[in-house]
């Protein structure tokens, strides 16, 4: 095959792009289904209580209404681990917005109308919904998400800090943030006898299959979940109540049922990023070399379940310091359940740590790029293990060069252009590089075509295309001879799309099965595919168990340039530049989109996003995109993402680290560090508010 160009590394347009642009790609509630009914959820209007009466008479009198489900009459479920999935089973209400009833009708309009006519009465109790650093209910969870140690201590932080000649002690706060993928949670569910066929928007069809099987007491093979296209997830499309509600309704009315949540309902029931309160203490010598570091993180979870955001995990493998401590404390409140949102833990944690590093740089009079370079560890400072590859310093240097950092004057609040103050800022970035067990199958046809199948899921990232490129290279054929199928539990089982593990995990199985096919063709069939074709199926359990011990992380450096109106405090981001070391980049086009998408979301976090909580009503005050602002393309003048050519042999066959999340890590700190450089005002509470930048003047 000689001169075949490798597909990996090329900027292939995504395979599903043309269908999406033409509107031909079908999303989960767009599949044509005969005799389909529609469901509309009824959210709780009380915060903490118990339903005492369900009056469905008016709702049922509405023409076309088939049923109203509540805990009184919904089909019984078996608990499946996550209490958020155990819907319409109990009269207890744990938070406002929790789904307490479901109207089902022959049309969407009738279902919605009926939902509005359901009358519920409750006993209620006083609620407690506000997280504070001295909340009496704060406790130490047994572990933090996903299964990391809650607290760590190396050396003796207290002694190290007390002895440090230079100290930074600051508290940072991030608000609740909502994932808000463009497509809401959406399901079309059909019972075919005792088989359940589900089209569902999610990040893990296998997880949804397993969850539904447990909840409804079915063997998993009788549940099929099809997830061909998903309009974004950002963490909130792991299994949620939407698909369970649809399945309950379909069973109850004995018809296929469609259910799509509204944007407003999503604010209540699909998870959000917990607010955080983070105290950072850094002790250093006068040159900025850290001797002690401590990160104490506080976050919230609901009464329904414990979700402990791993906020203080961020710094554990990042900067050197002999004495170090991290802690997590959690308060269970009468609030909706928080969950994963793009780079859980790392994202809010990086805001605090990378801000504090900037404060230390200012205190020591050291350039903040240089400060980070001075604190580069040789091995993982908490685990003691070597890094599979660590290129933070290279990212910082490459970024500084591209950004034009060299002649930066560190003095704050002295650069003026017209009515604006200008400033630049930098932050480091780190995200774990993990691979999870997956399986894949491949078929080689006698016509020279190949079919590769894996129950991976493409939530809009370009995963399908990346796997196709990996497959083509491993098969040693041009990509147009390869067909790839993903997003169906009928395909070989694979891990979910989360934690930036997709391409690493799925790519491993795909690469392995393609190698296996080639071995069979070459060694068993003498180099040609027989008339019946060649099949192979593999899984990566043994490969992943055999991995050597390394600290595996992607690294990055984020640079920002901002403009702050001196009179109104308006902040505009003129430029964001990120340089990342994330192993091999499979697709230059979709990778860039992932990285700049993450960076834009980080800017959104810095300047716009804030779930405003009303403690009196116990609900979000803003729960739509008109009042919860999310940054768009027009909010940034210039955005650039670059990557280093990183060849890390200790990862996986594709050599990838994952890029879905690292783009958002550190961005907010780079921006607030730039705001400090521009104005001299240190913003420790996100988002940056116009009035906060004017201080006493407004």
């Amino acid at each position: 095959m000689g001169t075949l160009t490798r597909a990996v590394g090329q900027a292939h347009a995504r395979l599903d792009g043309p269908d999406k642009v033409r509107g031909a790609a079908r999303y989960s509630v767009e599949y044509p289904v005969e005799n389909v009914a529609y469901a509309w959820p009824v959210p709780s209007t009380v915060v903490k209580g118990r339903i005492t009466r369900v009056d469905t008479r008016a709702a049922l009198a509405e023409p076309g209404v088939l049923a109203v489900l509540s805990y009184e009459n919904a089909p019984r479920l078996t608990p499946a681990g996550d209490p958020e999935l155990f819907v319409l089973q109990e009269p207890a209400v744990a938070y406002r917005g929790q789904i307490v009833a479901l109207a089902v009708a022959g049309s969407l309009e009738a279902a919605r109308e009926a939902a509005g006519l359901v009358r519920l009465e409750y006993d209620t109790w006083p609620h407690d919904t506000v997280l504070t650093e001295n909340h009496p209910g704060l406790y130490q969870p047994s572990h933090v998400n996903p299964s990391l140690p809650t607290d760590t201590e190396i050396g003796n932080f207290d002694a190290g800090y007390a002895a440090a000649p230079v100290r930074v002690d600051a508290t940072y706060r991030t608000p609740a943030e909502h994932n808000n993928p463009m497509e809401p949670h959406a399901s079309t569910v059909q019972w075919q006898g005792d088989r359940l066929v589900v089209h569902d928007a999610n990040q893990g069809p296998g997880q949804v299959q397993a969850g539904l099987a447990t909840l409804f007491g079915l063997p998993p093979e009788r549940v099929r979940v099809i997830t061909e296209h998903v309009g974004g997830g950002f963490g909130c499309k792991t299994m949620r109540c939407c698909v369970v509600l649809a399945a309950l309704a379909a069973r109850h009315v004995d018809r296929p049922v469609r259910l799509a949540l509204t944007r407003q309902q999503m604010f209540g029931v699909v998870g959000y990023r917990t607010p955080t309160i983070q105290r950072i203490r850094l002790g250093a010598d006068p040159t900025g070399r850290l001797t002690a570091s401590c990160h104490d993180a506080i976050s919230q979870s609901s009464m329904l379940k414990e979700f402990a955001e791993q906020t203080a995990v961020y710094g554990r493998p990042l900067y050197a310091a002999p004495h170090r401590r991290t802690t997590h404390r959690l308060a269970r409140l009468d609030v909706p359940s928080p969950a994963w949102m793009r780079a859980p833990g790392q994202c809010p944690g990086s805001f605090a740590v990378e801000s504090a590093m900037d404060e230390l740089a200012v205190t020591c009079g050291v350039d903040p790029v240089e400060l980070r370079i001075r604190n580069e560890p040789a091995t993982d400072p908490e685990e003691g293990t070597p890094y599979s590859s660590r290129n933070l310093v290279a990212c910082l240097r490459e970024g500084a060069h591209r950004f034009g950092w060299a002649d930066r004057d560190r003095t704050p609040a002295v650069r003026r252009a017209g009515r604006c103050l200008l400033g630049t800022g930098v932050a480091g970035s780190i995200y774990p590089a993990r691979s999870l067990v997956s399986s894949a199958s491949a078929y080689a046809g006698p016509d020279g075509a190949f079919l590769v199948q894996i129950n991976a899921v493409d939530i809009g990232t370009g995963a399908r295309t990346a796997l196709w490129q990996i497959a083509a290279d491993e098969l040693g054929v041009p990509p147009d001879r390869v067909m790839i199928r993903v997003g169906d539990t009928g395909l070989p089982e694979a891990s979910l799309a989360g934690g930036s593990t997709g391409t690493a995990s799925w790519g491993w199985a795909v690469a392995k099965v393609c190698r296996e096919i080639r071995v069979q063709i070459d060694d068993v069939h003498g180099g040609s595919v027989p008339a019946g074709g060649v099949h192979a199926q593999v899984d990566t359990t043994a490969d992943i168990q055999a991995q050597q011990t390394f600290s595996r992380y992607a690294f990055g450096a984020q640079f920002a340039e901002v403009r702050v109106d001196v009179d109104t405090g308006e902040v505009r981001v003129d430029r964001l530049l990120g340089v990342f070391a994330a192993g091999r980049i499979v697709n230059a086009l979709t990778a860039r989109s992932q990285l700049i998408g993450g960076m834009t979301m980080g800017m959104s976090m810095a300047l716009l996003e804030e779930g405003l909580w009303d403690p009196r009503s116990g609900d979000w005050a803003n729960h739509d995109l008109a009042t919860y602002h999310v940054a768009g393309c027009a909010d940034i003048e210039q955005i650039e993402a670059y990557w280093l050519d990183e060849d890390d042999p200790h990862l996986n066959p594709a050599g990838v680290k994952g890029i879905g999340e690292i783009g958002i890590v550190g961005t907010a700190a780079a921006i607030t560090n730039a705001v400090y450089h521009a104005t001299g005002v240190r913003v420790r509470d996100l988002p940056v508010r116009l009035d906060r930048l004017l201080g006493h003047r407004a």
Binding site: G116, D567, T568, R572, A626, H629, G632, D691, L694
Partner: protein
């Protein structure tokens, strides 16, 4: 819900008279949001998009008469030269899709304190033409708003048009927000200089229960500006003008900003728009 679709202006007025509780809808950028969020459920919608008269503009003596159904996009494209302040405000409305749908008539009908068109209409002494089967009346826009989302519009009346003189001097509009577009203003301000009459017009948005003028600021500035010499604008004049504009506001603390910030920002916007306008006049 009934959906009424008159195709002539007379039919529209007759329908409104017969069913005063019908909610008029043009671009739907406000009404559809309210319906969708179930904030209101009127017994009838009165669709005005088929009434051709509403989408026309022309002259009425010395004034421009602009039909209530003219969209923001058309205001910018067709009337931007003659109504620069209103065009500036229209450019800040929502997104291109919203500007293709939304109309000044709808902005007036909703009477939101944050309506982008209101400050420039106030600053340029616009008249709102209201019509019903009983007849037509023209109300100065400063008297049109009576409270948050309330106006003098009678139950059987429709907004037919607004009338305004083409700019006789520089006009400016500025608003403050957390970003440049797709955002409800924290506060906004419009200024019109009328050099021929040595008069000043102002309009404040999002900083009081209704859009309002800053009349004391207008009077001060009309007397203080060096109209004859067209000399440099004294800083003290801009500062005092800003302070009077801020004093005219009655803002509240809300999720978009504090009252104190709004007053401060208004004084900044007032001073800023004044400097721009004065420079334009003296060029």
């Amino acid at each position: 819900m009934e959906f009424l679709q008159p195709s002539t202006w007379d039919d529209a007025m007759a329908a409104k008279a017969a069913q005063p509780e019908a909610v008029p809808i043009a671009g739907g950028t406000d009404v559809m949001v309210e319906l969708n969020f179930d904030r209101r459920r009127p017994p009838a919608l009165l669709d005005l998009t088929r009434v051709a008269e509403l989408t026309q503009w022309g002259t009425d003596g010395p004034l421009l008469r602009v039909g209530a159904g003219v969209t923001s996009r058309r205001l910018i494209a067709e009337l931007g030269g003659r109504l620069p302040g209103l065009a500036m405000a229209s450019r800040t409305v929502g997104s291109p899709q919203i500007r293709n749908r939304g109309t000044v008539g709808g902005n007036l009908g909703s009477a939101s304190p944050a309506g982008d068109a209101h400050p420039p209409l106030l600053a340029s002494d616009a008249l709102v033409e209201l019509a019903s089967v009983r007849g037509v009346r023209r109300v100065p826009v400063a008297e049109f708003f009576t409270g948050p989302k309330r106006s003098v519009l009678a139950p059987d009346e429709l907004v037919a048009a607004f009338l305004v003189a083409p700019a006789g001097g520089p006009q400016q509009f500025a608003k403050v927000g957390t970003r440049n577009a797709m955002v409800i203003a924290v506060c906004s301000f419009a200024l019109a200089l009328h050099p021929a009459q040595r008069r000043v017009g102002t309009g404040i948005g999002s900083a009081a229960p209704t859009p309002r003028r800053a009349t004391a600021a207008e009077d001060f500035l009309a007397a203080a500006l060096p109209w004859d010499t067209r000399g440099r604008l004294p800083d003290s004049t801009a500062r005092e003008f800003g302070a009077l504009v801020a004093a005219a506001a009655a803002p509240i603390d809300d999720v978009r900003g504090t009252a104190a910030y709004r007053r401060h920002a208004l004084s900044v916007l007032a001073g800023r728009t004044l400097r721009w306008a004065w420079e334009a006049l003296c060029d």
